[in-house]
């Protein structure tokens, strides 16, 4: 049987993931000095580093058994994976934000909302029973209201300083976000003992961290 494969999100969550695995006594030296290799050994496991969306894709298809990824990406992807553990780090929140002092809800005009997370934005306004035009933006969403493309944005907000620097403010919180452990459904059933062991170690380490 092949080694358990773990997909980790590159970037923001990477360092915290390494700390977590070190805390449960794994040898992460290969992860730290990865060079150009794409599949890295960590004890008896194999680790890959991938973009957040790809972590979900690899786990959903069973190419990786387990992944660590932000709740923001999970909500947007709406995939069929087990979401088993809240690791409590990588904390931020989804929020609706717009120009300071402007009442987003006032008036009867059509609203345009820019977002990197169109599914989240759509669902949020659907729940309010509001018809909103959503435009997908790939990069710095804060630009859209500044350039007059949108009335507001739906985005992840960590400290809010980027918003403030651009004359924007949070209009409404949508949901809290943190790093989660996801598991492929078939892996969970076929390799239960190994995966449950790993999960309980991670849960314990996340509490201590």
């Amino acid at each position: 049987m092949r080694a358990i494969r773990i997909a980790l999100t590159k970037g923001r969550l990477e360092k915290r993931c390494v700390e977590l695995f070190e805390a449960i006594g794994f040898d992460c030296s290969q992860l730290i000095n990865k060079g150009r290799r794409l599949i890295l050994p960590m004890n008896a496991h194999e680790v890959v580093l991938a973009k957040a969306q790809d972590v979900i894709t690899y786990v959903e298809h069973g190419a990786c058994d387990l992944g660590i990824v932000g709740k923001d990406t999970i909500v947007e992807a709406d995939s069929g994976v087990y979401e088993l553990l809240d690791l409590g780090f990588g904390k931020c929140r989804f929020a609706l934000a717009g120009p300071c002092g402007v009442d987003f809800y006032a008036g009867y005009h059509e609203r345009v909302v820019a977002s990197k997370y169109p599914a989240v934005a759509k669902h949020f306004f659907e729940q309010k029973g509001m018809d909103v035009r959503i435009i997908k933006i790939e990069g710095s969403v804060e630009l859209a209201p500044l350039l007059g493309l949108a009335h507001a944005i739906v985005d992840i907000v960590e400290t809010g300083s980027t918003l403030r620097e651009n004359g924007l403010e949070v209009i409404e919180e949508i949901m809290p976000i943190s790093a989660r452990v996801i598991v492929n459904k078939a892996s969970m059933k076929l390799r239960r003992a190994e995966i449950e062991g790993l999960l309980s170690d991670l849960a314990l380490a996340a509490q201590v961290n």
Partner: protein, 402 residues
């Protein structure tokens, strides 16, 4: 330029040669198992009226369906599921047929998936439905049939997991959540999302039912799960479903199947038509659900013939892929003999070929003009013998040297 004339739609594909042979081999093996249990084949149309699938108990989201219209403008769909059409047939055309009815199908279902998700939109399925039968006997038959089906296909290590629709239903009913909350509960339990489940249950109070729901996604594993659940479900209405699962599991243990069957009390189907035990199957090397089924005692009544029913469907494509990978699908051998006839003797050649085919030989008619070309062709295709037709009754076999 007609760009779309040369490709197949996203999520569909052509299957060529070995893939096709493997698919046929799997279907053959499954047919053998299904018929050995007394099931009879049926086919239903690819296109059905949308009404067959849009029901209270089986709400197919519009975005998952492929739509079309008939010549009067009625909405049709490519069937997304095989159970509903079978329920329709059993309740209508087979109205007079005595129960129990045992039916099997080998037919694709069609479900839209997100673009570039890499999923199949045409899903090749095989399935059985046992209609008009209830209780342990029928449920065991279906479970055993599923195990035998997977074993017959020599699938790699597989596991079935067993749950009961009554567990979630009775617990949720007691809490009386609104429709949205109920759907969110299903979603959280299905994805074993503990944190979100906690948050959803917090406002619903600290009753026995809420506590049981909170633990539901954790209740998976072997026999020990049933004992754990027994304590947890005390004081709730979920006891009846659990008691039944205990009986079912004991019977499976008696059949020595505990090594391939697990319990997952957090198994909740998106399809609400299941009323009794439910199960799913997974196979090593395939990250997706391979097999899915259970008891649906309310569905036939929706089509006008109240009756108990149970069944399952298995994706034949992962089985075919596994069979192909195992190398157990023999490659198609070269023909035994190449029939060559010069111009003017075409009809005679075919008459000779009919005779050879009658002898059980695999023949190929040479599409060339000269013996030298025939020899080259035979060599290239690995055909060991050429039958040269030289006249009405004249045929000479020539061995081809590699």
């Amino acid at each position: 330029m007609k760009r779309y004339a040369k490709i197949t739609p996203e999520g569909t594909k052509d299957s060529l040669f070995a893939e096709c042979a493997a698919q046929a081999a799997v279907q053959g093996k499954l047919t053998q198992v299904f018929e050995s249990y007394g099931y009879a084949p049926v086919m239903t149309p690819h296109l059905e009226f949308q009404d067959v699938f849009l029901r209270q108990s089986a709400d197919w989201l519009a975005e998952r369906l492929y739509h079309a219209t008939d010549s009067t403008g009625h909405l049709l769909v490519l069937r997304p599921d095989n159970t509903l059409p079978i329920a329709r047939v059993a309740a209508t055309r087979l109205r007079e047929a005595a129960f129990p009815l045992r039916l099997y199908t080998h037919q694709s279902v069609f479900r839209r998936s997100r673009f570039y998700s890499g999923r199949n939109d045409e899903i090749r399925q095989s399935g059985v439905e046992l209609l008009g039968a209830q209780g342990l006997r029928a449920d065991l038959e279906i479970l055993l049939c599923a195990v035998d089906a997977l074993r017959a296909c020599e699938s790699p290590r597989f596991r079935l997991e067993l749950g009961h629709a009554g567990v979630f239903r009775s617990l949720a009913d007691a809490l009386q959540p609104d429709e949205d909350t109920r759907a969110a509960l299903v979603r959280c339990i299905e994805t074993k999302n503990y944190p979100a489940l906690e948050a959803l249950l917090a406002p619903l109070g600290g009753s026995d039912e809420a506590e049981a729901l909170r633990q539901l996604p954790r209740l998976f594993g072997g026999a020990e799960v049933l004992a754990k659940a027994e304590k947890l479900f005390r004081g709730t209405q979920a006891g009846a479903a659990l008691l039944y699962l205990q009986r079912l599991y004991a019977a499976l243990q008696a059949l020595d199947l505990q090594d391939v069957i697990d319990i997952d009390l957090g198994l909740v189907h998106g399809q609400d038509y299941y009323t009794g035990f439910v199960f799913r199957g997974y196979m090593e090397g395939s990250g997706v659900t391979l097999l899915s089924g259970g008891r649906y005692d309310g569905l036939l009544a929706e089509f006008g013939r109240p009756a108990a029913a149970v069944g399952f469907a298995v994706g034949s494509e992962p089985l075919a892929e596994a069979l192909l990978e195992s190398g157990k699908v023999p490659a198609q051998p070269a023909p035994d003999v190449l029939i060559f006839a010069p111009a003017g003797l075409e009809a005679t050649a075919l008459a000779h070929m009919a005779q050879r085919r009658g002898e059980g030989l695999r023949c190929e008619l040479a599409m060339v003009e000269t013996m030298e070309e025939a020899r080259q062709y035979a060599r290239r295709c690995g055909i060991a013998k050429i039958a040269v037709v030289a006249g009405e009754d004249i045929m000479e076999d020539v061995e081809v040297r590699a």
